[in-house]
Symmetry: C2
Subunit: 234 residues, 2 copies
């Protein structure tokens, strides 16, 4: 409404959105014919606007009754990094860089990053704390070609936020998780006894067609439980 240049179906869509956001699921939206009169447009235009909101999951059509605010969809877990995850848990996440350098990809990392063995990668190893105590050790490998000058620009606090600025925030990830006993070195860094239970987490983080980040993280089992929401539903 505020922009006369806007497409009509966009005007109608945003008008309806502004009406229904915040209202309870089940609340009625304006009828299509009512919007036709209000905006002086054809009914197909109104339907185009409403279709978008239905696909978006905001509205729900019930034939013979009307259009109503849909109950919010349950949505699969978002791909987050450690910093975001700890913030979500209400803990203070800190990182201590143990290693940050350019390396030549070994066979495993090369395959995971869809590179060739020997290609340049950024290896970033961090001890991560939550509320002051050790939580995990993370080894992240990044495709250097996609991140020119990354090492020189100073390491960011949140990797994924830094990637977002470059339009490379991962929107999809392949994760694997298993249990193990920690090694002597890990025990020292995590401040637990050797052989304590740990959660090993591997990730391939992807944005578009590109594998952005590959990481292996070892979590203290006494401090960390992984949470996942699966599937997609109405």
């Amino acid at each position: 409404m505020s922009d006369g240049r806007a497409l009509k179906h966009v005007q109608v869509r945003e008008y309806v959105r502004s009406l229904v956001t915040g209202t309870a699921p089940g609340s009625p939206a304006p009828s299509e014919r009512e919007l036709v009169h209000r905006f002086g447009v054809a009914r197909m235009t109104v339907r185009q606007a409403m279709d978008a909101l239905v696909v978006e999951g905001l509205l729900e059509r019930i034939p013979g009754r009307g259009t109503f605010v849909a109950r919010p969809r349950r949505v699969a877990s978002r791909v987050t990094c450690y910093t975001e995850e700890m913030t979500r848990r209400g803990m203070l996440g800190e990182s201590q860089t143990l290693l940050a350098r350019r390396e030549q990809a070994g066979p495993g990392v090369a395959r995971a990053l869809s590179l060739t063995e020997g290609d340049a990668v950024i290896h970033w190893r961090r001890l991560r704390r939550a509320d002051g105590s050790p939580m995990c050790i993370e080894d992240a490998y990044l495709n250097e070609v996609l991140l020119p000058g990354f090492l020189q620009s100073g390491m960011p606090t949140s990797l994924y936020e830094a990637l977002e600025l470059r339009g490379l925030r991962p929107t999809w990830a392949e994760d694997s998780v298993n249990a193990d006993a920690c090694t002597l070195d890990e025990a020292a860094l995590l401040e637990v006894e050797q052989g304590s239970a740990v959660l090993r987490h591997s990730r391939r983080a992807i944005s578009g067609d590109k594998v952005i980040e590959v990481s292996r993280t070892v979590y203290r089992a006494d401090r960390f439980t992984l949470w996942v929401q699966l599937g997609q539903e109405s």
Copy 2:
């Protein structure tokens, strides 16, 4: 085309779907005007058909160029049960029921199943094998009200397939995973040493608004790695 009673936009949609399924991403779909002539329908009807395929992720429109087969979307992990998961891994999954009975829900299970403490639940405890060796011990709790006669009808091979027959297949789940050392009892059943690393997995499986199943599973860490795909992309 085979059914003259079918809605026109459905006819067009399924005709286009049959044309493009199996063809490589980037292959052109028929143009909208071509379909108008072929089916003798209005262009809006064709657009309705194509819109559905675009929303579905099968097609991709490029203004000024045409409509093309989209590259398949990466999709978040489906909610699967043990039987399906082992089949997917190419292993033979077997189960030995250790316990299957009606119980009164304790406080934890009641809350997880959105019931009241003392409500009737089905408790099903199984030792699960893969290719003959122990893989995990699973304790599943089901809302008895949703599954009348479930215990009497004989326990199914695949829980989720059985639920599907009743229209209660979980399409969404909240999972949590952590690492631990196994207890003496668990060690005996899993045929590992006491204190061996295990993966503890909890699930709340949901269909629609209803919590269908709550389970706690302890996996042998030497045999099991959990795989998860996160996010949703193009």
